[in-house]
């Protein structure tokens, strides 16, 4: 079978010593940044882009990024459970019950439930990615420019609809799209919004923009915020395995979380945070003992962590199949593809199958590495939280300067870096999401090319946009989606509220001590 032979080739590449080492480095680096609050996979990958361009190996680069992406999710949940400090927004849910378990001396089982759930979800998510990718490519190859444009509009609408406050997300998106028009127009050679600055003729470098928006703004926010003295206090982990009852309780949430997370992850803009909250709400609704949630229910850790991880595989589907990223991290990965001169879109799987299958195989391998890394090295990861921020963040500034300078040996790029850093800081302070801005910046050239291709050859007749049934179908889906996000947003808010509301336990349950509620099972 093609699928198996492709996967075999992918494993042959990914299991080479050089790529195994890179996968390991990515997993460690990803866990490291996942542990640290604030700096996420998107900022880290954007900082590393100049480095990987300098190395010049796209397969190695994407294996590294895959490791960082998944490692970030593992690392975030470790600190969420142990010290109630989620390293990533998607790990907030793990803190709800995970930290409660930790306080009862059950940190080890909580961490094991999270790690095993992430492994299962990552594996199932990767199978899902493999299974869906090739059939979807066949569909996508039938797309013309009008269909592709409609799909891009759908994706950007989804990002706005699901990415925080819709009006602010829309502003960020259009700001990114406008910034994406800066440069020389490819058809007419007319300069656009360059202000006579030659360095702008090729447009704004998205690597510099991504580093400024995510990494520099994070440094400014972190260092300018009031800081607390002393490091976090940690609970002891205890046994790092699950007993029979804990396995039984976790099985269902792992599987449900994996499926839910994968399909939520496919939606542009939805992301791991929404997936984890929805999973928590589902598990709480399905549980016969919902009053245990919020007090140390292992299901409240197992399901969300599985959903979290599966969504990262799901989010790779639109990126690899259509060349449409749905999140900041996949947007930076798209920038990496473009930086290596790799054509993204439906032809990626045909023309660069080796790269894609090596990446997919490395996700499997990365999952195995992460489960091995995370459980025994928990003490080390928690100690990382004690790294003085006054040393860490200035070093991050230096790496950003290095990275931006290395692209063109240009000081001008550093001023652009600073400008985007300040812009990112101001936008974040005013509660504007940054991912739509970066998506707009990266996708504007593609959007404009498809728009122009649609109109060329038909004498500029705009009715071309509504002639194809497939195009009309996609626009109809966009409108339905916009309506649906209103309800989806309310559902997500209710899921978050539901996660935080403690239902009343029956009198007999309250009468019994709950410190071993996971050990003894339901009453």
């Amino acid at each position: 079978m093609d699928l198996l032979s492709n996967l075999t080739e992918g494993f042959q590449a990914a299991l080479s010593p050089q790529y195994l080492l890179i996968a390991f480095v990515g997993a460690v680096l990803g866990t490291f940044i996942g542990v640290l609050p604030g700096l996420g996979p998107s900022a880290t990958i954007s900082i590393l882009l100049p480095v990987v361009f300098a190395i010049g190996d796209p397969v190695g680069a994407f294996i590294l990024f895959g490791g960082i992406y998944m490692g970030g999710l593992y690392g975030g949940s470790t600190t969420a459970i142990l010290v109630n400090t989620p390293g990533e927004p998607s790990s907030v849910v793990a803190a709800l019950d995970g930290h409660q378990m930790s306080k009862k001396g059950l940190a080890g089982p909580a961490l094991a439930a999270a790690a095993i759930g992430s492994f299962i979800a990552g594996t199932l998510g990767t199978i899902g990615l493999m299974s869906i990718a090739e059939p979807l490519v066949d569909v996508a190859l039938r797309f013309g420019p009008t269909e592709y444009l409609a799909l891009l509009i759908f994706a950007l609408t989804a990002v706005v609809g699901l990415g925080g406050r819709a009006s602010r997300a829309a502003f960020s998106l259009f700001l990114g799209l406008v910034i994406g028009t800066v440069g020389i127009d490819f058809e007419s050679s007319q300069t656009r919004l360059t202000y006579g600055i030659p360095e702008f003729f090729d447009g704004i470098n998205f690597v510099v923009a991504a580093m400024g928006l995510f990494a520099i703004s994070e440094v400014l926010l972190a260092l300018a915020a009031p800081r607390q003295e002393g490091g976090p206090t940690t609970a002891k982990t205890g046994r790092l395995y699950l007993n029979r009852d804990e396995w039984r309780r976790s099985r269902g949430p792992w599987l449900r979380g994996s499926v839910l997370g994968f399909f939520v992850g496919i939606l542009p803009g939805a992301g791991a945070t929404i997936a984890s909250f929805m999973s928590y709400s589902v598990e709480k609704s399905l549980s016969k003992t919902p009053w245990r949630f919020g007090r140390g229910a292992i299901e409240g850790v197992a399901g969300p962590e599985a959903a979290n991880n599966a969504s990262s595989s799901g989010s790779l589907v639109p990126l690899l199949v259509l060349g449409i990223p749905g999140s900041a991290t996949t947007a930076v990965m798209l920038a990496a593809f473009q930086g290596f001169g790799i054509q993204t879109g439906p032809l990626l799987l045909r023309d660069n199958a080796y790269l894609v299958w090596a990446l997919i195989a490395s996700l499997y391998i990365g999952n195995v590495m992460l489960i091995i890394l995370n459980l025994p090295l928990i003490g080390l990861w928690v100690r990382i939280l004690r790294t003085p921020v006054e040393l860490l963040y200035p070093l991050i500034l230096v790496v950003c300067i290095l990275g931006a300078y290395s692209l063109n040996s240009s000081v001008f790029d550093l001023y652009v870096l600073a400008a985007f850093g300040l812009l990112g800081y101001l936008l974040r302070k005013a509660d504007f999401p940054l991912a739509p801005l970066l998506l707009g910046l990266i996708l504007e050239p593609l959007l404009e090319v498809q728009f122009r291709r649609s109109l060329s050859g038909v004498g500029g007749d705009w009715s071309i946009f509504v002639q194809s049934r497939l195009t009309l179908g996609i626009y109809a889906a966009t409108v339905l989606f916009l309506v649906g996000t209103f309800f989806l947003r309310r559902m997500a808010i209710r899921a978050a509220e539901h996660a935080l509301v403690e239902p009343h336990a029956p009198a007999e349950a309250e009468a019994t001590p709950d410190h071993d509620v996971n050990e003894k099972g339901p009453r």
Partner: protein, 179 residues
């Protein structure tokens, strides 16, 4: 009014004229020499027009509730004035005011040091500039540990410089360049 709210109101208000300015600038993008179905200014103007619409929406979402609340409780306006006279310059509580001025000062220092490092990068070189940046910021944020900061700055920058040189990244030598 908290400093965060004040910032939000000012920022969202500023977005409107900035967006209008961007739209005006896109309308001045030159026409192409030859006839094209899509002129080079069409897409930027459409996008900038939508940007203006979003800026107005965001400003309305932010300002209207605040204005309505003010109009609904005019009595608080006078009390608010008295409270403002007595309260510190930034913020409703003393702690918030102190926190906000500390964070503004820290932000200013970080920005100035960062820009100075960019300016000095090529003349002074990467090693000198980066070491000075890390040492100055870490000592500003944690002055008690200046010896630790100095040692870590020198060691980390040397390691980072070596690593990037091995990766083939060219770094300016500046004043350390061999004659």
């Amino acid at each position: 009014m908290t400093p965060a709210k004040r910032f939000e109101l000012a920022f969202t208000a500023a977005l409107v004229p900035i967006s209008v300015l961007i739209f005006w600038q896109t309308s001045h993008i030159g026409a192409p020499v030859r006839q094209l179905e899509v002129s080079p200014r069409m897409v930027p103007m459409i996008l900038a027009g939508l940007l203006v619409a979003c800026a107005l929406l965001v400003a309305a979402e932010c300002w209207l509730p605040w204005l309505r609340a003010r109009a609904a409780h005019p009595g608080i306006e006078k009390q608010g004035h008295a409270a403002v006279v007595e309260a510190p310059l930034f913020g409703d509580s003393e702690d918030e005011g102190v926190d906000d001025s500390v964070s503004k000062r820290t932000l200013t220092v970080i920005t100035v040091v960062f820009l100075a490092a960019i300016f000095a990068l090529e003349p002074l070189g990467f090693l000198v500039t980066a070491t000075a940046l890390v040492f100055s910021l870490s000592t500003y944020l944690a002055p008690r540990f200046f010896i630790r900061n100095a040692v870590v700055s020198v060691v980390c920058i040397a390691l980072v410089s070596l690593l990037f040189r091995e990766l083939g990244v060219h770094l300016p030598d500046g004043i350390l360049a061999l004659p």
